[in-house]
């Protein structure tokens, strides 16, 4: 895989302790089969030592889990791939080392339709999970096949109903759109069908061709053509529009909530807050340092078994970089950012290097200001990255130019 930010050998991370309340992320690295677009770290479960990995997760939780996390997120991979017994062992263990059941206001578990039925949903509910995120991805069979998904639309609906039956109020649905050959009209119909379920949350992602994935390789090889910029824009706009009509707030580029049911765990990422991740490839951010665990199971387990810190990389960006980063992340959200607060979060001292940029983006109509906060306008959303690059740039150019001697 392409991700190897060997910025620095791990130095600071082992000494950093999470504050009580720090959000906890747990990475379960197994799936039934690998999807063609996916660049998360996970492996097909067949033949893998599932119980052994579970022991390792619990060992890591024992050593590193934050006390009383505000939010917990079981991601992956496919956490629902674990059996009811394994899930019980995992969640009981996590609670033992973090007491999340008493503290967390939100406990999410990612599920895939093929592995979520009523008994499992009920078990998750009883084990302290209060929010499910189900990977529908698409209702079109052709697209599911292109993606290498192992379920069909019918199973997705069944999984959703199982969640509801088990008493989950908070259920999110993951969708991917903008697929080569996909027709906008068909997507709108599919979106309609999903919204008819009235999930309290939808994550709708424009298809991304991540480096190193089979899908990106196929695109490169000319197996299909990606939608052009105008088509992608049309999908993006139609998606936002349709969800808005149905009462969903676009609170982040790809995330929509009904009745304010945002995913607090993810909102923390966009405000550049701290978090602690356990499991292979999981990333943590404590103080100003972000660090990532070894990306595959074997070295991650080996490190834990040997009593070593399992991180493989870390980075502590300069305050100027953190400033640009905080703007970038914050502008992905509807809430936007408060410039003075960004300076504080980033620990940046000195005058704000983004002032002129803010002004020019306001003037050009990409940013708007309300109640002291800056956020992207309807024009700004589709080009959020271009805006972000300008912020990263403005912050990076912090080295004050020396005037030449004459």
């Amino acid at each position: 895989m392409s991700f190897a930010p060997r910025t620095n050998p791990v130095q600071r991370a082992p000494g950093l302790r999470p504050e009580p309340g720090t959000p906890l992320y747990v990475h379960v690295p197994f799936c039934v089969a690998k999807c063609t677009y996916c660049d998360f770290y996970s492996v097909a479960a067949e033949g893998q030592d599932l119980p052994g990995a579970l022991d390792a997760l619990l060992l890591e939780a024992e050593r590193r889990a934050p006390p009383r996390p505000r939010t917990v997120f079981l991601g992956g991979g496919t956490p629902s791939f674990y059996s009811v017994d394994e899930l019980a062992r995992l969640l009981d263990g996590l609670d033992r080392w973090s007491h999340f059941r008493a503290s967390a206001e939100e406990v999410t578990c990612e599920c895939n339709p093929e592995s979520l039925d009523f008994p499992k949903a009920r078990a998750l509910r009883e084990l302290g999970v209060d929010r499910l995120s189900i990977g529908f991805q698409s209702l079109e069979q052709g697209i599911l096949a292109l993606f290498g998904r192992v379920h069909d639309a019918e199973q997705s609906f069944a999984a959703f109903h199982a969640a509801r039956e088990a008493g989950f109020q908070r259920v999110s649905i993951d969708l991917i759109y903008g697929v080569p050959g996909q027709e906008l009209a068909r997507w709108e119909v599919d979106l309609e069908r999903v919204l008819a379920l009235r999930p309290d949350h939808v994550s709708a992602y424009q298809l991304t061709y991540e480096d190193g994935t089979p899908l990106a390789a196929q695109l490169q090889a000319g197996a299909f053509q990606r939608l052009d910029e105008d088509q992608e824009l049309a999908f993006f706009e139609a998606t936002r529009g349709r969800l808005a009509d149905a009462g969903y707030e676009q609170y982040e580029v790809s995330n929509f909530s009904l009745n304010g049911q945002q995913c607090s765990h993810n909102v923390n990422y966009w405000s550049n807050g701290p978090y602690l991740g356990i499991g292979p490839s999981a990333v943590s951010k404590l103080a100003s340092t972000r660090f990532g665990n070894a990306r595959s199971i074997t070295p991650w387990r080996a490190a834990l078994a040997a009593g070593r810190f399992p991180a493989a990389w870390e980075e502590t960006p300069e305050p100027s970089v953190r400033l640009g980063e905080t703007w970038w992340l914050g502008l992905r959200t509807r809430r936007g950012v408060e410039p003075a607060e960004v300076l504080r979060t980033a620990g940046f001292e000195g005058s704000d290097p983004t002032l002129r940029l803010q002004e020019s983006l306001l003037e050009l109509g990409f940013l708007e200001q309300s109640a002291g906060r800056m956020r992207l306008t309807a024009r700004g959303w589709p080009v959020a990255d271009a805006v972000a690059r300008r912020f990263l740039e403005a912050c990076a150019e912090q080295t004050s130019p020396r005037l030449p001697r004459e």
Partner: protein
């Protein structure tokens, strides 16, 4: 050392005709280097030279050779082969009594060899014609002999026939050096006089000066004065390049060697200066060199404003060994503080630019080159200008003149037609045509220098499939109907993109320039108009549409570091960009005003 046993010579050759290979063979034949050390070409030391296969700085190597029982000192002074470096050639020739004229027997005579051979003839050097690569099946030595005779006007009937590759004929070359090239004319008993032939900067030892001794003897410990600069130094170390440095207690009249005095200040050594004993008898300065006028100008701006001083120091260092290169501080609205640099030609410019980047690790924005223009004001006063930005509005001057060059083009006869068309397209005035042999023709034109730097040379190369060569010499200034072509990006004039051109070409060049800019400038958050104008009249317009969709779908805790780096990488290319009126203009765009130059895409 008896001066009669010294031979100082250089090799005149077109690029790739085998000068470096022959030099290696000569060193090897005399046991100066072991065969196994020979894979590298010894005279071209700079990394850049090796990559481009051309020789930039003259270097001198001493070869000890026993001929008929007598030991001779042969000093090979290296010369560059490109049209831009006539001046360097001249420098080398002044330290020699003879030159090998090395011609590839399959390629034949090229314009440069002709020009350089003329220089050698003018300098009164003995010329030894050598046909190289006779091992090649398609070598045509008889015809090439004829070409040498008709192009240079020397008797080439007994031109040596060698293969630098196989070594065939190399002993004959050594014999000819001793028998046909006269020993130096010098007086060992007169007061010391030596010519500074070259200099290189060594971080540890200071400046290493290459000397050609004329009169007297120089000894370690001597106090010497550089007559031109008046600086005084002590000879701390003397020696010769064999090609490795070998120390010597003294250098005698007629010899070539090096001099070290821990000189750290670059301005203290002037190539072409004369060295004499300090407080010794008064001596005349040696003729030295005519520093040539730079004819092509371009501005260098550090990408990072903070690098201005670093750039200044780097330019100083380069100017040390290259008196033909000039620089002066300038400012531009678009680009900030930088230097306007003067060069002999385009290759010279490219080499300086690359050396700045490689050797001094500088990142720069370079403007498109321009020639020197001359305006004659109403009062009759004339002023030279080196950029379109300096051109006042037309009511402030009476005449605008541009430099004209006499261009000599050597091509295979079958390309005469297309070549004449290209010359006509570039405002060339036909002077004459001459057949050098049945298959090779020399065309002579007068052509504005601006056309040569625009794209004439590249057109010539592609029209003749690389077989054509040219040489030129600036003759003077002529009045022409020239206008300033202004380029506006997002409604702001970009001074660094404006040029001067002939009025009939303004529209075509304006269009070509903005088309290229359209390709070079990335899309922004807003639409960007690009216009070309003459005076207040817009003659061409292009539009760069705004970005419409550019946003990552997913961004969670696990991807933040990586995705930030991705965004940073996308802006990475911006290191070499400048902002003009909110628009990022990349370095390449500043060269867009050049014609369709080869290699544009490779850069």
């Amino acid at each position: 050392m008896d001066p009669k046993l010294i031979r100082n010579f250089s090799i005149i050759a077109h690029i790739d005709h085998g000068k470096s290979t022959l030099a290696d063979r000569l060193l090897e034949a005399c046991g100066a280097v072991e065969k196994r050390e020979m894979h590298a070409q010894h005279l071209d030391s700079m990394e850049l030279e090796r990559e481009r296969g051309i020789t930039i700085k003259a270097k001198a190597v001493t070869i000890w050779h026993v001929h008929e029982g007598v030991r001779y000192q042969l000093n090979l002074i290296d010369t560059p082969g490109h049209v831009d470096f006539n001046y360097e050639v001249q420098k080398s020739l002044q330290a020699c009594e003879g030159a090998l004229l090395l011609v590839d027997a399959s390629q034949g005579v090229e314009a440069q060899s002709v020009a350089n051979a003329y220089l050698a003839v003018e300098a009164g050097l003995a010329i030894v014609p050598v046909l190289n690569k006779i091992d090649l099946a398609h070598a045509r030595p008889d015809e090439v002999t004829e070409e040498i005779e008709s192009a240079i006007g020397i008797d080439a009937t007994d031109a040596l026939r060698v293969s630098a590759k196989t070594g065939q004929g190399v002993p004959d070359v050594l014999r000819a050096i001793i028998e046909k090239i006269p020993p130096p004319v010098c007086s060992p008993d007169d007061p010391l006089r030596a010519l500074i032939v070259d200099a290189v900067y060594d971080e540890y030892r200071g400046i290493i000066v290459y000397l050609r001794m004329f009169d007297g003897t120089l000894r370690v410990g001597d106090k010497v004065e550089m007559l031109g600069s008046g600086k005084v130094f002590e000879a701390i170390e003397l020696g010769r390049f064999l090609p490795k440095m070998q120390k010597s207690e003294s250098l005698g009249a007629g010899e070539v060697g090096y001099f070290i005095s821990n000189i750290k200040h670059l301005g203290d050594v002037k190539i072409g200066d004369t060295l004499a004993l300090h407080k010794g008898a008064k001596v005349e300065m040696l003729p030295g060199y005519r520093p040539p006028q730079p004819m092509v100008f371009a501005d260098f701006y550090p990408t990072n404003n903070g690098d201005f001083e670093k750039l200044r120091t780097a330019l100083e260092t380069l100017a040390l060994t290259d008196a033909s290169f000039t620089y002066e501080p300038v400012t531009s609205d678009a680009l900030g503080f930088g230097f306007r640099c003067g060069f002999l030609g385009l290759l010279h410019m490219e080499i300086i630019q690359e050396r700045l980047e490689r050797e001094f690790d500088l990142d720069m924005i370079q403007t498109a080159p321009t020639v020197t223009y001359r305006i004659v004001k109403h009062g009759g006063e004339s002023v030279d200008i080196h950029s379109a930005g300096q051109l006042p509005s037309p009511d402030h001057y009476e005449k605008l003149l541009e430099p004209i060059a006499r261009v000599s083009i050597l091509i295979p006869a079958e390309y005469i037609g297309p070549m004449m068309q290209i010359a006509a397209d570039h405002r060339g005035e036909f002077i004459r045509q001459e057949y050098l042999s049945q298959t090779r023709v020399q065309l002579v034109y007068d052509l504005p220098l601006a056309e040569i730097i625009y794209d004439f040379y590249d057109k010539l190369k592609s029209a003749t499939h690389g077989y054509g060569t040219l040489n030129y010499e600036v003759k003077g200034f002529h009045e022409n109907e020239l206008v300033k072509l202004r380029i506006l990006v997002n409604n702001e004039e970009v001074d660094a993109l404006s040029t001067i051109c002939h009025k009939d070409q303004a529209e075509y060049r304006g269009r070509a320039t903005i088309k290229k800019l359209r390709k070079e400038i990335a899309r922004h958050l807003f639409e960007i108009p690009i216009q070309a104008a003459v005076g207040g009249r817009i003659i061409a317009r292009e539009t760069i549409s705004a970005l419409r969709k550019d946003v990552l779908a997913k961004c969670y805790g696990g991807d933040i570091s990586r995705k930030r780096k991705l965004l940073e990488k996308q802006k990475e290319g911006k290191r070499r960009m400048r902002q003009v009126g909110n628009v990022d203009i990349p370095q390449k765009a500043f060269l867009a005003v050049l014609g369709d130059r080869e290699g544009d895409d490779a850069k």
